[in-house]
C-alpha cells in the first residue's frame, strides 16, 4: 500500500477511483477490513485490485449526464458541513456547482470518521477530501488528453468541462467518466494553491435554506413510515426507582397500542434510564397515555443534590487532587521576594443541551431479522452499533440512515435514544417505531455539561512576570461516562486549555484534577471543557492585571509578547502529541478584537469592557464585550466583538454564523442557564424554568475573521468559551464586583434586567 495514501485517513483505507454502472465515475475510500461487511477479506486486497462499487464509500459520483452526486459523511446540524465539504471536493475537482447534489451518507465505517463533534469536520477532511478530488480531476484530464490526443498541459478545466483551446474542442466530465475510471490511479497529485481555488474562501449560502423556509426540510422528528407507531417512555426519575402505574387506564386512551416496561441499560456511555413505555398511533395519544398511567415511583437513589455536589467540589479543591501536568517548581519559585498573588475559585453549574428538536429515533425490525434505523445523530455508527447491541445482533444486520438534526450541540453524539428506539421496536411486532422525547424528557434526562469548580492561585512579580500558576479543577467528569483505555489520565476529557494546553508561558505551574461523581450522567456540550477552563484562566488573568493595577489588554499583550510560541509535549497512551500555542497569532486576534471595540477599560460610569483570549485546538479567538450596569435596569450587554483565526477559511458565510452562534450560546449559558438536582431529580423541565438567551438578550455582535494560510482548524465551538470570562471581566470593570460563578443573573440577581 502506498504509504502516503495510507496516512491520509487511516491505514486501512485506500483512495479508489473506479467505474460504476451507467458509465459513472466513483471516487472514494475502500476499506479492506474496517467494516463488518468487508471483514471477510483475509488479506487486504492490493490497491490495484478491482473494487466493486458497493464496497466503496464514494464521496463523489460523476454521472454520464454530467451531474455530480456528493455523499456527505459528516452530520449536518446547522453548521453547514454539507456545503463546506462539498466546496472542498468540487473546488478541487473543478466541477460545476450547479450540477451538484449532496446527500447524507448512511452509517458506514467505510466512509472514515462520520462522528461530528469537537469542531473536527473541516480540520480532518481538509487533506483527504481535496486529495481525492484532485486525483479524480487528474484522471479526467488524462482521459481527455488521450481522447483528444493532445498533451495534458494544453488542456484547461472549468465547471466540469475540459477544453483544448488551440483546437477549440472540449469534453464534459460526464463523457470522460468511464474512460477516466479505467486509467491507473496517479499518485501524489498536488492539490490547488490558494490562488487556483474557485470556491474555497468565497461565501456560499446553504442550499437547504430553500427547503427550510418552505417547511419541507425533513428532520428526524418529521420522519414517517406506513404503520409507524409513536413511542414514548415515562422514565425512572431517580436511578433504581420502581414504578406503580395504571396500565388499564392508559390502554383506554384511543390510539394506544401497548404499555410495557423497558429495562435500564447501564452500559457506558448510554445510561438508559428505563421506565414505562407507551406505543400509540400518534403523538398526542402517546402523551395522553403517559398522563393516564399516573406513574408513581418507589425507592431509588433520591439523595443527590446540586448543593451537596458543590460542597464536595469546594472541599475537593482544598485537597491535593491528582496532578495531570506540571512545569518548573512552584515551591522554589515562591521564594522570590515581593510577589503579588491572586487566589480565586470559579464555579459553573450543570447545563442542558436543549437542542430545539428533542431527541428522537425511528427503528424497524424486519421479518428477515434485519433492522433499519433512521434519526438525527452526530454519530451514526455509534447509533448503528447501539441498536445492534441492544437487540443482540451483528452490526452488519443493522443499517442506520442519519437524518437532519434540529441542533446537535454535542448531545446527539450519544446514542441512548437510538438504543431506546430499538428497545421499543422489539415490542412492536415489526411495526416501525418513532421514539420521541418531550421537551420535559429532554431537560430531565439529558446527559449534562459537567458541574465544575476551579481553584486558581497565581503569582506574579510586580513588573508583571507570571511566576507561578496553580490550578485545581473539580468536575463531575465526562471521562467516567466511558470505559476509558488504560493509561488515560483522570482529567483526559476535562483539561482543554489548561495543563499542557495552558496558553501563557508560566515557568512554574501545577494542574490538578478531582473527579466528583454523580448519578446524573454527563456529556460533551458545545465548547466542552474549554468552557470552564477558559472561564477560570481568563478571569484569573484579569484579576492579576487588576492586582497589578494594569489594563487587562496591556497586561495580556505583555504576557504574550515574551515568547513567540509555547510548545509542550503531551504524553498519551497512543503516543506523544505536540501542542503549539502561537502567541503571535493569539496577539493578532486580540488586537483586532480590541481595536474594533475601541478598547477602553472603563468607558464611562456604569460601563465596562472585558476581554478573553484563548486557543482552541489550533484555532485562536478573542472575545471583547462592552456592558452597561444600571441600578434599576440591571445589566445590558452593549456589544460583543469576536475575532477568530481558524487558518484557511473555507466558507466565510458559514464561519461567521458559527462564531455568532457560538457567542450567543456562550452568552446564554453565562447569563441564564443552570441545571440543578434536587432530591435526585433535575429540577428544570422546560424553557420556562431553564432560561435561554432570547432576542432581547442579544447585543450587536461583530465578527472579525482573520485570513491565514495555515490548514483550517475548527470553528463550531470556538466562540463559546470566551464569552463568560469576557462578560465577567466587563462586569468587574463597570462595577468592581467580581462574578466568579455562572449564570451571572442567578449569582447576582441585581444584574438581571427587568422585563
Amino acid at each position: 500500500m502506498n504509504p502516503r495514501e495510507a496516512n491520509t485517513i487511516d491505514r486501512r483505507r485506500f483512495l479508489v477511483v473506479t467505474a460504476a454502472a451507467g458509465g459513472a465515475l466513483l471516487v472514494g475510500l475502500h476499506a479492506d477490513d474496517a467494516s463488518a461487511k468487508t471483514r471477510k477479506h483475509a488479506k487486504p486486497p492490493p490497491a490495484a485490485a478491482p473494487v466493486r462499487p458497493n464496497e466503496l464509500a464514494a464521496w463523489i459520483r460523476i454521472n454520464r449526464d454530467n451531474s455530480i452526486e456528493i455523499a456527505i459523511p459528516r452530520q449536518e446540524m446547522g453548521q453547514g458541513v454539507s456545503t463546506s465539504l462539498m466546496m472542498l471536493l468540487v473546488d478541487e475537482l473543478d466541477g460545476d456547482v450547479a450540477r451538484v447534489t449532496t446527500y447524507q451518507a448512511e452509517a458506514n465505517q467505510k466512509y472514515g470518521p462520520q462522528g461530528t463533534g469537537g469542531s473536527q469536520s473541516i480540520k480532518q477532511s481538509w487533506v483527504p477530501l481535496r486529495e481525492a478530488a484532485a486525483t479524480a480531476r487528474a484522471m479526467l484530464l488524462q482521459a481527455a488528453s488521450l481522447t483528444l490526443k493532445v498533451p495534458v498541459q494544453d488542456l484547461t478545466v472549468d465547471k466540469g468541462v475540459i477544453t483544448h483551446a488551440p483546437s477549440r474542442r472540449s469534453l464534459r466530465y460526464g463523457e470522460l467518466a468511464a474512460a477516466a475510471a479505467s486509467l491507473p490511479k496517479p499518485e501524489n497529485v498536488a492539490t490547488k494553491s490558494k490562488e487556483q481555488r474557485k470556491l474555497i474562501g468565497k461565501p456560499m449560502r446553504k442550499r437547504e435554506t430553500r427547503d427550510v423556509v418552505r417547511g419541507v426540510q425533513l428532520y428526524g422528528i418529521d420522519f414517517k413510515l406506513p404503520g409507524m407507531l409513536v413511542g414514548m417512555i415515562e422514565r425512572t426519575p431517580v436511578p433504581g426507582a420502581r414504578p406503580r402505574y395504571d396500565a388499564a387506564a392508559a390502554m383506554r386512551i384511543a390510539g394506544v397500542v401497548k404499555i410495557f416496561e423497558v429495562p435500564a441499560v447501564a452500559d457506558k456511555p448510554l445510561f438508559i434510564r428505563g421506565g414505562v413505555a407507551v406505543l400509540a398511533r400518534d403523538t398526542w395519544s402517546a402523551m395522553q397515555a403517559r398522563h393516564a398511567l399516573n406513574v408513581t415511583w418507589d425507592g431509588g437513589n433520591a439523595n443527590e443534590e446540586s448543593t451537596l455536589v458543590a460542597a464536595k467540589q469546594a472541599e475537593a479543591v482544598q485537597r491535593p487532587g491528582a496532578q495531570f501536568a506540571s512545569f518548573g517548581d512552584i515551591d522554589g519559585a515562591l521564594t522570590i521576594p515581593d510577589l503579588v498573588a491572586v487566589a480565586a475559585e470559579y464555579e459553573m453549574p450543570m447545563l442542558a443541551h436543549a437542542t430545539m428538536e428533542p431527541m428522537n429515533c425511528t427503528v424497524q425490525i424486519n421479518k428477515d431479522g434485519t433492522v433499519q434505523g433512521w434519526g438525527p445523530s452526530q454519530n451514526p455508527v455509534r447509533a448503528q452499533q447501539t441498536i445492534a447491541k441492544l437487540l443482540g445482533l451483528d452490526q452488519a444486520k443493522v443499517t442506520f440512515q442519519p437524518l437532519v438534526m434540529g441542533g446537535g450541540l454535542g448531545r446527539r453524539s450519544n446514542s441512548d435514544f437510538a438504543g431506546e428506539a430499538a428497545l421499543l421496536a422489539r415490542q412492536a411486532d415489526g411495526a416501525p417505531v418513532k421514539l420521541l422525547w418531550t421537551r420535559e424528557d429532554d431537560f430531565r434526562f439529558d446527559h449534562y455539561h459537567p458541574m465544575t469548580r476551579a481553584k486558581v492561585e497565581a503569582w506574579t512579580t510586580k513588573d508583571g512576570s507570571l511566576v507561578a500558576w496553580r490550578h485545581h479543577l473539580a468536575s463531575t467528569p465526562v471521562g467516567s461516562m466511558f470505559a476509558l483505555a488504560p493509561g488515560t489520565g483522570p482529567a483526559a476529557f476535562e483539561s482543554a486549555g489548561i495543563g499542557d494546553g495552558f496558553l501563557y508561558d508560566a515557568p512554574n505551574a501545577s494542574f490538578r484534577f478531582s473527579g466528583v461523581e454523580t448519578a446524573t450522567p454527563r456529556w460533551w456540550w458545545r465548547g466542552v471543557s474549554w468552557v470552564y477552563n477558559v472561564f477560570a484562566v481568563e478571569s484569573a488573568i484579569d484579576e492579576l492585571a487588576n492586582a497589578l493595577n494594569q489594563d487587562p489588554l496591556a497586561y495580556r499583550e505583555q504576557l504574550l509578547s515574551r515568547t513567540k510560541q509555547v510548545t509542550r509535549v503531551q504524553k498519551h497512551a497512543r503516543g506523544d502529541e505536540e501542542i503549539v500555542l502561537d502567541h503571535a497569532r493569539m496577539t493578532k486576534v486580540m488586537q483586532e478584537a480590541t481595536q474594533r471595540i475601541g478598547w477602553n477599560y472603563q468607558p464611562g460610569p456604569g460601563r465596562g469592557m472585558g476581554l478573553a483570549v484563548y486557543e482552541y485546538d489550533g484555532s485562536y479567538a478573542a472575545i471583547a464585550a462592552e456592558i452597561a450596569v444600571d441600578a434599576k435596569a440591571g445589566m445590558q450587554v452593549k456589544r460583543i466583538v469576536a475575532a477568530a483565526d481558524v487558518g484557511t477559511i473555507v466558507n466565510p458565510l458559514a464561519l461567521e454564523a458559527q462564531i455568532v452562534g457560538g457567542v450567543i450560546f456562550g452568552l446564554s449559558s453565562s447569563l441564564r442557564e443552570r441545571i440543578t438536582i434536587e432530591k435526585g431529580r433535575v429540577a428544570q423541565a422546560n424553557y420556562g424554568d431553564y432560561e435561554v438567551a432570547r432576542m432581547p438578550d442579544i447585543p450587536p455582535i461583530e465578527v472579525i475573521l482573520l485570513e491565514n494560510g495555515a490548514a483550517p482548524t475548527g470553528a463550531g465551538e470556538l466562540a463559546v468559551p470566551g464569552v463568560a470570562p469576557a462578560l465577567a471581566n466587563a462586569i468587574f470593570a463597570a462595577t468592581e464586583i467580581r462574578v466568579r460563578k455562572t449564570p451571572f443573573y442567578a449569582a447576582r440577581p441585581e444584574l438581571k434586567p427587568a422585563v
Partner: protein, 157 residues
C-alpha cells in the same frame, strides 16, 4: 376525550381530522395533515417553534385545541406562499439565516405577523415580537437583519 371529526381550514383548503378535540392543533397538523413544517419545541407555549397564523395572527399551535379551530383560518409555513417566494422567505435565503433551521418556521410566521402590523419595526419592536421564540443555534442577528431588510424594501414600494 371523544374522537370526532373536525373540519379545519388550513392553507386555503378545508380538511377533516378525525381525532380527540383536545388534541393541540400542532399535532393535528403534524400527525394527521402531514404538515410537518410547524415544529414541536416545548408543547407549552414557551419556544414559538410551532407558530402558525390563526385568522392572520401569530399563534402557538401547541396551545390551541383542535376543537377550537372549527371556524378559523389557519396558515402554516407551508402556506406562507405558494412557491417559497414570500419576501421574508426570499430574505431568509439571501441572508443565509437558518442554521439547523428547526426554529425557522416559527420565526418566519412571527415575522410575517410583525410586518403585517408594523410596517417599519424598530429594533425594540423586533426584540419584543421575538421574545417568545427560542433559537438555540443563535440565528437571531441574521433574523433581525432579514426582517429589517424586508421592512425597508416594503417601505420603498
Amino acid at each position: 376525550m371523544a374522537i370526532a371529526r373536525h373540519m379545519v381550514k388550513v392553507n386555503g383548503v378545508r380538511r377533516t381530522v378525525k381525532a380527540d378535540g383536545d388534541m393541540p392543533l400542532l399535532w393535528a397538523l403534524r400527525d394527521h395533515l402531514n404538515l410537518t413544517g410547524s415544529k414541536y419545541g416545548c408543547g407549552a407555549g414557551l419556544c414559538g417553534a410551532c407558530t402558525v397564523h390563526v385568522d392572520g395572527r401569530a399563534t402557538r399551535s401547541c396551545q390551541v385545541r383542535l376543537a377550537d379551530t372549527a371556524k378559523k383560518t389557519i396558515t402554516t409555513i407551508e402556506g406562507l406562499s405558494k412557491d417559497g417566494t414570500h419576501p421574508l422567505q426570499k430574505a431568509w435565503i439571501e441572508h443565509d439565516v437558518p442554521q439547523c433551521g428547526y426554529c425557522q418556521a416559527g420565526h418566519l410566521m412571527q415575522a410575517a405577523d410583525l410586518l403585517q402590523r408594523v410596517k417599519a419595526p424598530s429594533d425594540a419592536d423586533i426584540d419584543e415580537a421575538f421574545r417568545g421564540l427560542v433559537c438555540r443555534c443563535g440565528t437571531q442577528p441574521r433574523i433581525k437583519k432579514a426582517v429589517l431588510a424586508v421592512a425597508k424594501a416594503g417601505a420603498r414600494k
